[in-house]
Symmetry: C2
Subunit: 215 residues, 2 copies
């Protein structure tokens, strides 16, 4: 992956940043944000408490940066799929599949996003709300384009469909631990197929007059 | 609705119980369970703090009873649809639609279920986990029967499909405030159609080679 040239020092700081965020994700996930102290964070990363302030200004800053990074990565997925050639429904499908894979790979982070985001305050909270709105709008754009080219159910409601998709994604942390032997690729494939069927098919064609074999 | 005969006294107690639970739902929703005191609860219901102990033994007891009641109502929906005549896919559809309507009517309660359930301890926690498992199994039964009669995508994975459905339902509190002018019936209808399409249709039939009109 191409990155901007950087000194050894700045690269070292970047790695340290990532270690710090990863350790905080695990800690907040296990102990919860309110119950975790800066001392706990320092211990989890293996540094003295005072050293933490080279990297972050407060515990809330740490939570904000974790959630911010998740948004950043979702935005990158939007940008990547937006550049794909071919029909709009293919871009929508690619977005859905990549998002599922990302969420499955980062279920602890996604869980924090929903359980602990409430602890952000002031500008941090505002920034997070604005970023969530941007992502929601990007999802609606993908749905709108696929609908316009005639690939989706013509009665599809773009706004509610975006909520439906994000709902299925956001629920991953609730059940991911119970999936047992499925690989993340299998789950992503099955969920992508269900999501795309939800948007593209018309259930009314299902024959509900079939005989009831359960009686 | 038929109810067991009861004295005026027991009816009064039942109404009082319901008022108490409703007030606690609003309080916990606004202030969060950890930050709400028994004094807050008493004020919200309009009784003296001491009187609360006629109805509940502790704050956790109150949270447990709120969540317990939600489960109870979901179980009633399962029982109702299980008795419906006709094909299994019709029972599945009725379950999905009634659940959406119930969740839309009780989004604060559903929100508590996901944000505050973590505060239950010991036997309360165990009971809640067991009830969630029962509901999950009931959903799988409905899916299995509809699949067996040939009404669903033959490749449908029952376990993951149940997670998918519960995920869409459980996300309602996250976005319900943003839906604006849609009625609950409209939302339930659109979400039911998307869910049933997700289970019954086969996305592969969608023509992804359609010309890309967005270019």
């Amino acid at each position: 992956m191409a990155t901007a040239p950087q000194t050894n020092g700045s690269r070292r700081k970047r790695n340290r940043d990532e270690e710090l965020l990863d350790a905080a994700v695990r800690l907040f996930h296990e102990k919860g944000y309110p119950a975790s102290s800066m001392k706990d964070v320092a211990e989890a990363v293996g540094v003295l408490k005072g050293s933490l302030y080279h990297y972050i200004s407060s515990k809330e800053d740490l939570l904000f940066r974790i959630l911010q990074e998740s948004h950043q990565q979702a935005s990158e997925i939007v940008d990547e799929v937006s550049g794909l050639p071919g029909p709009a429904v293919g871009r929508l499908r690619a977005f859905v599949e990549r998002m599922y894979l990302w969420y499955l790979d980062h279920s602890e982070r996604v869980g924090l996003y929903f359980n602990q985001q409430q602890y952000l305050t002031g500008d941090n909270k505002k920034a997070m709300v604005a970023q969530a709105r941007d992502l929601g709008m990007a999802v609606r754009r993908l749905l709108t384009e696929a609908k316009r080219e005639g690939s989706l159910d013509p009665r599809l409601d773009v706004k509610l469909s975006a909520f439906f998709l994000m709902g299925a994604l956001n629920s991953i942390p609730m059940w991911y631990m119970e999936t047992g032997s499925y690989s993340r690729e299998q789950i992503a494939e099955l969920f992508t197929r269900m999501s795309m069927s939800a948007f593209a098919c018309q259930e009314d064609t299902v024959d509900t007059t079939a005989p009831d074999l359960s009686r």
